[in-house]
């Protein structure tokens, strides 16, 4: 077992339960100490703590590789990639170009009616109950069903996807065997779907990828298609689950913002951006491949970098009142979807899902609050969001 952290600045651990529960004061402490801090845990990890330092690393693909994008206890040989998120230049651009057209704002808007239906089907199941775990019964299911719909795989397989993602992103930080088993199960699942489409093509995203041509005009290898499907499934689900959950958590404990969003629905776009900034779910990683300095701090190879976009988004040097959630914040250059070439390919889809999920919830459940008899729990590590969100529905008695 790992030892508890006693000095965050020299020995931080992003899987410590205190970090998982409430990381913001820890990040403030780290940021006050240095723009880049280091821990010997996880075989050596740097963490940029300011927006400036996070941005500098995100833009620097010469010294920082994306071949490893999760900080784990071990660094096994890389066998299964997920292009383009695990790609560096020059391989990155052609792999990313293939995925961009299905995820433009116009393309994702076509999915919006189905996402509204999904939200209402879920709400129908618990609206008559006085209390509900909104993470388990609402926020969890929206992204998984939406991405299944896009990929053309059964929405009913959602629980299986959520299990794999939990094993890869959370348990996998410390348990390599569980992670590899999940990765292999997922590969077998998708190979089946790829083979089926060789016999009978469909008009979904899996077939789109299978029909795509690379820069040289050649079809993608099955391994490339598989890698990109792995990425879309892993990256598209608990990220948005977390973002929707954190938004509802905020609204449950902030009646003034709830009332204002209902009275002024035109504030929804700025509110969604502010929820993305204040409760950014995704922390990525890089592997240092060459000596360099970042904001004056020396950086050595063989270390990982915990690239905390969430911490960057709480930097008061970049965002006035960084610790306040202001749903009408006008200027908001947040980095929730990353900065530079690895900007999240699904950002437009995530925004649409968040907007629709909050809108449909507020339409049908304008009054709700945290259940004092329950406990809100958060996922640890790479993606942070509520995994239990016990709410009382209806006006307070």
């Amino acid at each position: 077992m790992t030892t508890p952290v006693t000095d965050w600045v020299s020995d931080f651990d992003h899987t410590d339960p205190r970090w998982t529960e409430n990381p913001y004061p820890i990040w403030d402490e780290l940021r006050a100490a240095s723009p880049v801090v280091h821990t010997d845990r996880f075989l050596g990890v740097y963490m940029p703590t300011t927006y400036e330092a996070v941005k500098a690393i995100a833009y620097d693909t010469e010294h920082f590789s994306s071949r490893r994008i999760i900080v784990r206890n071990s660094r096994p040989p890389i066998t299964q990639t997920a292009p383009p998120i695990t790609s560096d230049p020059p391989e990155h651009k052609p792999a990313k170009q293939l995925l961009l057209p299905p995820f433009t704002p116009d393309a994702t808007r076509k999915l919006e009616p189905r996402v509204r239906e999904i939200c209402n089907e879920l709400i129908d199941q618990f609206i008559d109950e006085p209390r509900v775990d909104a993470a388990a019964r609402y926020t969890k299911h929206i992204p998984v069903r939406a991405i299944a719909h896009m990929l053309g795989i059964p929405e009913a397989d959602g629980d299986l996807f959520i299990k794999w993602i939990h094993e890869i992103l959370e348990l996998g930080i410390k348990d390599e065997e569980t992670m590899m088993r999940a990765v292999n199960e997922m590969a077998v699942y998708f190979v089946g779907h790829i083979e089926a489409r060789k016999q009978r093509p469909t008009d979904d995203l899996i077939s789109t990828l299978m029909n795509a041509r690379d820069a040289g005009g050649q079809p993608l290898s099955d391994m490339h298609v598989l890698g990109s499907l792995r990425l879309l499934l892993i990256a598209g689900i608990d990220t948005t689950w977390s973002a929707i959950g954190a938004s509802l958590w905020h609204l449950a404990k902030t009646p003034a913002d709830r009332a204002r969003l209902i009275a002024e629905p035109e504030l929804m776009p700025t509110a969604v951006e502010e929820f993305l900034r204040a409760y950014s779910p995704v922390t990525m990683a890089r592997e240092v491949i060459k000596d360099t300095t970042v904001t004056g701090c020396p950086i050595k190879p063989d270390n990982m970098v915990l690239l905390s976009f969430p911490a960057a988004n709480r930097d008061p040097a970049m965002f006035p009142d960084a610790d306040k959630v202001l749903i009408d914040r006008k200027e908001n250059r947040h980095a929730a979807f990353g900065l530079g070439i690895h900007r999240c390919v699904g950002s437009n889809l995530a925004r649409m899902e968040m907007t629709v999920a909050i809108e449909e919830w507020l339409k049908r459940i304008p009054d709700f609050r945290l259940d004092p008899a329950g406990r809100v729990t958060w996922s640890e590590g790479t993606v942070r969001g509520p995994r239990q969100l016990p709410l009382l529905l209806g006006a307070a008695q």
Partner: protein
């Protein structure tokens, strides 16, 4: 009276966040990959100046320039 504003999106900096398009659809459009560019010659019609500045101040990649003719 001040001259007209003109917007320019740097294609090397734009990463397709599409914040400009959602804040100022009258001024920006996206290509098939989601990368942004100014509509037409980039001259901001009268009355849309605030939207131009709003788009610029929300671009995470600092890809938008506004010049005054």
């Amino acid at each position: 009276m001040a001259g007209k504003l003109k917007i320019h999106v740097d294609p090397d900096k734009c990463q397709g966040h599409s914040r400009c398009k959602s804040l100022a659809p009258e001024l920006f459009e996206l290509d098939d990959y989601g990368y942004a560019h100014a509509i037409g010659d980039g001259v901001v019609p009268e009355g849309l100046e605030d939207k131009a500045w709003l788009a610029k101040s929300n671009c995470p990649e600092l890809a938008i320039d506004i010049t005054e003719d």
